[in-house]
Amino acid sequence: MSTAIEIKSLYKKYKNADTFSVKDLSVSVAKGEIFGLLGPNGAGKTTLISMLCGLLKPSSGELLVFGKSYKNQSSEIKKIIGIVPQDIALYPTLTARENLMYFGSMCGLKDSELRQIVNESLEKLGLEKFANKRIDTFSGGMKRRINLIAGILHKPEVLFLDEPTVGVDVQSKNVIIAYLKELNSNGMTIIYTSHHLIEAQDLCTKIAIIDQGKIYAHASPSILIEQTPNAKNLEDVFIAITGKELRDVS
């Protein structure tokens, strides 16, 4: 199995920060995996995802996406990655179709092809009736589904998802998870962060538990549960590794 993501000795320290947000982090993600990046608040998940998406520059270390580095192949990488941010990164006053046509065009898709992809995606996620309605009239679950479609229009090889099901109803969550599984079955590698550990246990093929900028555990959910004494599920593993202490960050 080929490697989708290769991270070697990655460090990130923000300007004026006392400590590293990501510290000597090395991990690789195989092509076709659904890789769950789990950790408490302030663990360094968003920083790591931001570096993987090319939004932040690492302080040091190496980061490769399908063997390509952001240092000299940034535009090549951007063609093969997709992002679904935690925020609803859509224009509220535009319709669902207008938003998707715009973001699809920015990924280089031509109108005729794009129109077809938009229609198919809206239908799959149960939103075809709302294609011409403005985003600011949508419910939270509908916005999340459009947010997801906007990240996969160009059929990326790697999809980064930052808490894609936060704040949505069970029905929307089920549709989103089913769609992610379908995308993965078609060969898309998925990097996923979430605080929903049961959801992660169900969805992910590999899990990395990150805390204080370092990876403390990295294996499939079943192996992690097996290797942790008295653990019945991923939540027990998570607590065993990261502790019960509150992680308030400002």
């Binding site: 300007k15 090319g54 939004l55 609803i88 224009y91 006053t93 715009y102 065009s105 920015m106 990924c107």
Partner: protein, 425 residues
Amino acid sequence: MFHKLKRSIIKEILLQFRDPGGLIILFVMPLVLIITITLIQDSTFRSVSDTSIPILLVDNDHGTISKTVKEQLEANGAFEMLSEINGTPISENFASEAVFKGKYQLAIVIPEHLSRDLQQKVNQNVQTILSDLGFEESDTVNEEISPKEIKLYFDPATQMAFKNSVKNGIDKMVAQIENQSIYAAFQEQLGEDMSALFEEESFITFREMTPSGDDEEVLPNSVQHNVPAWTLFAIFFIMVPLSINIVKEKQQGTLVRLISNPVSYAIVLAGKTITYLLICLIQFYLMVGVGVYLFPYFDLPSLDVGGHLFLMTIVALFSGLAAIGFGVLLGTIAKTPEQSAPFGATFVVILAAVGGVWIPVFAMPKIMQMIAIASPMNWGLEAFYDVLLRKGTIVAILPEIIFLLLFFIITVLLAIGYDKKERAV
């Protein structure tokens, strides 16, 4: 690339059209502004105003001077002379109190026997001159005549420009009366048959020469000054909604999505630049249209474009670019709309003040004149005046439009540099 640019422009236009409040601010407010300002400022450019300012006249003279002052100020049309209230002549005490309390802007106090004493003084001087020249013997002893003063009381809130203009006007009238008295005295002393020697009409007159092109002469009026000045003001105001647009993109997360897409940030900015440039041009044509077609309905002079619409469009285009460049920089640096909106609005007002929209640059202190030279709004205003009032060609406006273009390039490069630096933290 062109497909991405086209979609970016469509998106920006849709965002504008989905915000009716924003559209009103962009297109209606500048028109309201230009009509209001021109109506207010029009009277300062006209010799006859629709409204007259009441002036108290304390006439202790009851002679030719007080009569002339009253007649000439009334003939001006801008003033209404009041020498009595409810049938009672106005006293100096009443006048000073009323003016200092702000009930009237001005009171003129003509001293007692001013006309008589002036004539007497002139007669004495003429007799002395003629006697020295041997025309006639003078054996009379000249009576001592003390100098007189006309008192002017101004409301303390009255602006300096108004004070100076009234003072100059009265000074001129007094000088004319003195001249006429001198001529009259010479005529009287030399006999009736010598009267033809003295022509009392002014030998020197003034005529304002204006730049002319195409065999036509255009006299500057409030509209010729106000339309370009306030059009520029509105064009530069574009930086406020543009900066808010960029800040919102950051807050919504759409900018993050765009940055991670295979699209250059320059395309994203180009989409915004072209859209906002279109808005600037629409604003410009609307304001020119109001100046040409609507102003006559408000009893204002029509804007005389004089076949220079193409050059004016070029100036509007480059001024728009400069404003957009600054809007992009402001939107990139600002973290919230609460930062960008008040700063942008205040900065436009400062730029307008420094640029000479309200007060001409030549009337500013030296230091402000130097600052004005570096103000993009001043470059735009000078270019508009070059075209509209000085009848300049493309060559005349070339330096200004090059400066405006450079300003756009520098501000956009600074914005891109700042954005890269921020994301590299």
